[in-house]
Chain length 181, copies 2
Amino acid sequence: MRYRRSDVIGRTIDLLEEVGLEGLSMRRLAGDLGVRPSALYHHVASKQELLGAVADEVLARGRRSTEVLGWRDELRLTCLELRDTMLRHRDGAALIALARAEGVGGEDPLQRMASVLAFNGADPELARVGASTLFHFVFGHVADRQARGLSSTEVPDESADFATGLGIVLRGLESRLAQHA
Amino acid sequence: MRYRRSDVIGRTIDLLEEVGLEGLSMRRLAGDLGVRPSALYHHVASKQELLGAVADEVLARGRRSTEVLGWRDELRLTCLELRDTMLRHRDGAALIALARAEGVGGEDPLQRMASVLAFNGADPELARVGASTLFHFVFGHVADRQARGLSSTEVPDESADFATGLGIVLRGLESRLAQHA
DNA sequence: ACCTGAACACCGTTCAAGT
DNA sequence: ACCTGAACACCGTTCAAGT
């Protein structure tokens, strides 16, 4: 069998579901593809670079079409989308953290949220920090959840807690936007 | 040389500073202590358990005396303390995430923040979720920062961004507390 | 272009045996 | 109680060589 880079990335996403980030090794991945470990280095520079590309792909798959709503709903939707994307994959939050170490992941939702804030009366500084604050809340929430119990099954109270927490941050942003208006 | 468990934990904290979480291996730690790798298993059950104990120790060292302030300043101080604790050690946020997977870390600041909220008119639900929201923001902020650039040197703008983000979350909480008052 | 074979310098962990 | 010695089943990565 002969593979392309996208095959390797795709198979890594599937393997991640089976064995998690900790169990994911280049040798295991190679075995899965029916290939020697060294062959992988024809497609990716290193394991780190591969995981960066995997995170990018995961983020791209989670991307939904932009809808035009009030700033509040638009930010809420972006955060829910980001949470869903991370939750959809085993160790999804840790994966995206790894990608950010690589300088490659998560810029897109951050940019979108900053734009929404800027279009709604936030000065550039508040837009940037507000978007970061939302991102950090979402990331922290999912990372903590996945670090602990079952990663895949949905705990219902958990979604309610997320919605409440998100509401708190949005309420704080509303107050700051009002000051600048 | 003969060691006790606390020696192993202490040396691990120092080694973490030198080589980071990625470079920290049981074999490297054993070599550092001048002992065979297998000797470590007399003191700890596994690497995972060791890292949990290390995170606990780090959290305990970062603990400051409780001051009696308004709820806002008390929460702010707890979050700043938590951030400082995580920032003080290389890969501190990731370390604490690992400990939480072990079910062992971070319960203390979470409890304190929930208590402060409960004493100030939050119902038990809001106290719990409010404390989690603050914790997730702090954790997400530091984890993201450490995953990227230089972990030890303080970037000044970074602290300002943290303070602003924290202010946004606290403002949202104030609004929720007012509703319940 | 994509792969194999073989090697290098590592891992965490177990377990019998020593003192 | 704390340690050594030896082993097991792994890692990521490189590099010459094959097709």
